[in-house]
Symmetry: C2
Subunit: 351 residues, 2 copies
DNA sequence: TCCCGGTACCGAAACGTTTCGGTACTTGTC
DNA sequence: GACAAGTACCGAAACGTTTCGGTACCGGGA
C-alpha cells in the first residue's frame, strides 16, 4: 500500500503551485500551454488520479446516485426490468464519473428510510424513483429533502422530471391483433392496482378495447408473478376445465410476461390449448418468453433505454440543481411495440 | 436547501471545541459525562448528521464496497443468485454504515477495468469477487492493488478470504436419490468449464457417481441458460424422439435450474415424459422451479446467506487491513441440500 | 510547598481537492 | 515612459471530519 500520489506531488514535480495543477487538469484557463503540458506530463508520470474523497468534500458532491429496490427477493430475481435498467444507467454514469449505489428495503416504510438516510449523510446526489405507486410517499419526501430525483414510468401528473415509455401504443396494437384474429371475448390479468404501471396498462387496455368497439371483458387482479398468473387463470376460467366452460374469454392480456407464462401453464392444465382455445399475450419482452412453448406474444419494452435516459436526466437535474431549479424536460422513449410470437392465434370457432 | 449543520454548529451550541464534540459522538474517553450529555443534546437539537464526505477524507475510507457483474442483461435478469445475494449483503452493510456500489461490465476485460478504476480513485474499500473463473485475472489484480476482497464460491486454492457453500453434499444426496429410485444411466448438463462453480458441480457429480459404484454417464456442456438446457436435451437424446431411443439416460442432473427447465421442456417435445421416462434435477432452488410442471427437483442454495457472510468477511478484512494483513478465516455456510419435488421419480422399466 | 499523574478540554494539523483574491509580469495605448 | 488591461501563476481558505500534542486544572503524596 504505497502512499497515494496527490496533487501536491504533481505540483512539486512540475514545479508549480497546486492551484495551477488543478486548473490544468480541469481544463480551466489561466495556464499557459507550456505549463499545462508540463503538468500533464508530471501527472502522467506519477500516475496521478484525483482523489474522489477530496473532490467530494470540496465540490459538495458525492458523485453517486441511488437506486432503492424492495428487498423482496423475487424482485431482483425475476423482474427482468432491473438488470437491463441498471445496465442502461451504468452506460451513462460511468463516463461521467458517477457510480450507482444500490439499496434494498424490505418494507415500504423501510424504503423511505433508505432514501432519508441516503440524503441525510449526502451519500448520493440524486435518486431514481422506480415502481411508483399512486400517491407515492417518496415524492413529497424527495421534495422536502431537496434531493434531485427522476421518476421512471411515472403517471401524467408527476411533479418531478420523469422518463416514460408509452403503454398505449403497444396495447392498441395488441387489441388490433386480437380483433383481426376474430377475438371478441377478452380478459385482462392486471398488476396490483397500487402501482402506476399496473394501473396504466389496465386503463390502456380498456381504452383500446373501447376504441375498437369491443366489450371490456373481465379483469382479474394479479401481482406480476408467475403464481399470480396461475391463480388468475383459475379465476378467468372459473376453475373449470375446458369442457365445463364452452364459453370463455378467447384472448387474454396479462400485465407482464411472467404472469402470462403462469397463466398459460395453468390454462394448459385446465385443458385449454394455447393458442387454439385461448390466445395469451404478456408485457415486457423477457427472454424466458422466447423459450416457453408456445413462445409468448408480448409487448416489448426497452428497460435499458429507459435506464439510460433516466440516468441522463438525473445527472442533468443534479447539474442544474444549484443554479436555481431549472426544470428538466420529461423524456418519452420510443413506445413499446407488439411482438407477435406463437401464443396468439385465430379465435376458436365457438359461439 | 438549508446549509448543512456541521460539527462546528454543534460545538458552538454546546459551548465546546469541535474536538470534544467528535470525541463525545464517537464514544471516546476524555469527555466528562456532563459535557457529553450537553453535546449529545446539542447534536440532537440541531439534527446533526456527520458528513460522510468529511469522514471519508479524514478516515481515508470510502465506507462503500463494490460488486461488479457482467453487463450481459441475462445475468441480473435471470440469475436468481444476484437478487438474494445482494439482499444478504445489504443486511450487513447498512447497519455498519456502508453502502454497495454496483457496477456492470460487458466484457471480461472491461470488468477488470472497473475494478481498476474503483480502486484508483478509492471509491470503495473492498470488493466482492463473484462468478470466479479458473485462473481468474481479478485475483492478481486485487492483490497488486492491495484492495481487500472476498471470493464467493471460490475454488480450494483461492489465495484470498472466501465464503463457500459446499456442492458435494447436495449432489451426493441427489445421486443417492437417483440410485435408490433404480436409475443406472446418467447424464449431466454442465455449466461452462471456465467457471469454478460449473467445474466443481461437474466434479462433485462424477465423484458421487463413482462413490456409488455407477458409470459416469454422459456429460454435455451447457451454459447455465434455458436455451442451453434445450440444446443439451437434443444432444443427450441424440436429437431423436423417444421411440427412436429406447436406451437413453434416465436420470439427468443439470448444473442449474434454468437449464434444467429448458431441458425438461425439450425432453417433453421429444416425447420423453418427466419423470416417467426421464428424471431431471437442477441446482439453485429458484422460485420458477416450483411453478413449472412437473415441479423441479433441485439442490437448494442460499445466496442470501452467502451474501451476508461475504459482506461480513469483507468488512472484517477492511477493518483488519491497516494493522497488518491479518488473515480472515474462510467461511463455509451450511451446505446446499437436495429438495425433492416432482421432476424425479422411479427409473422406467427398460433394459 | 513543591511536584507529579491524571483528567478535561482546546487548538491546530491533516486528509486532497477546488476556488478565489492577489501579485508580478507582459503587452498595448496615448 | 507612465498607466491600464490582461495573463500566468501563487497562496490561502474552504469543505467537515478525526487525531494528536498541549495546556490548564485538580487531587494526592512527600
Amino acid at each position: 500500500m504505497p502512499p497515494r500520489v496527490t496533487i501536491v506531488d504533481v505540483a512539486a514535480r512540475a514545479g508549480v503551485a497546486i492551484s495551477s495543477v488543478s486548473s490544468a487538469l480541469n481544463n480551466r484557463p489561466g495556464v499557459s500551454d507550456d505549463t499545462r503540458k508540463r503538468i500533464l506530463e508530471a501527472a502522467e508520470d506519477l500516475g496521478f488520479v484525483p482523489s474522489l474523497r477530496g473532490r467530494s468534500l470540496s465540490a459538495k458532491r458525492a458523485f453517486a446516485v441511488g437506486l432503492v429496490v424492495h428487498r423482496d427477493p423475487y424482485v431482483l430475481e425475476s423482474d427482468p426490468f432491473f438488470g437491463s435498467f441498471i445496465g442502461g444507467i451504468e452506460t451513462v454514469l460511468d463516463p461521467r464519473g458517477y457510480a450507482l449505489i444500490l439499496q434494498m428495503g424490505s418494507e415500504r416504510v423501510e424504503t423511505l428510510d433508505r432514501y432519508r438516510s441516503l440524503a441525510a449523510n449526502r451519500r448520493v446526489d440524486g435518486v431514481f424513483l422506480n415502481e411508483l405507486g399512486v400517491d407515492d410517499p417518496r415524492i413529497p419526501l424527495v421534495q422536502e429533502l431537496g434531493l434531485p430525483a427522476v421518476g421512471v414510468n411515472a403517471g401524467p401528473a408527476f411533479p418531478l422530471p420523469a422518463v416514460r415509455q408509452d403503454h398505449g401504443r403497444g396495447i392498441a396494437e395488441l387489441v388490433d391483433h386480437f380483433v383481426t384474429l376474430g377475438h371478441r371475448r377478452f380478459a385482462h390479468v392486471s398488476g396490483p392496482h397500487e402501482f402506476i404501471h399496473g394501473h396504466q396498462r389496465r386503463r390502456a387496455w380498456g381504452d383500446a378495447l373501447a376504441a375498437a368497439g369491443m366489450e371490456p371483458g373481465v379483469v382479474v387482479e394479479g401481482d406480476f408473478t408467475y403464481e399470480g398468473g396461475v391463480s388468475a387463470a383459475d379465476r378467468v376460467f372459473g376453475g373449470g376445465s375446458r369442457e365445463a366452460r364452452p364459453v370463455h374469454p378467447t384472448a387474454v392480456f396479462c400485465s407482464n410476461d411472467l404472469s402470462a407464462i403462469g397463466f398459460m401453464a395453468r390454462a394448459s392444465e385446465l385443458g385449454f390449448r394455447v393458442p387454439e382455445d385461448v390466445s395469451v399475450a404478456g408485457y415486457d419482452g423477457i427472454e424466458l418468453g422466447t423459450y416457453v412453448r408456445p413462445a409468448l406474444t408480448t409487448i416489448r419494452t426497452n428497460p435499458r433505454l429507459i435506464g439510460r435516459e433516466a440516468a441522463r436526466m438525473l445527472l442533468d437535474a443534479i447539474d442544474a440543481c444549484p443554479e436555481g431549479t431549472r426544470r428538466i424536460p420529461d423524456v418519452d422513449v420510443d413506445p413499446a411495440h407488439l411482438l407477435v410470437r406463437s401464443s396468439t392465434g385465430p379465435a376458436p370457432l365457438q359461439d
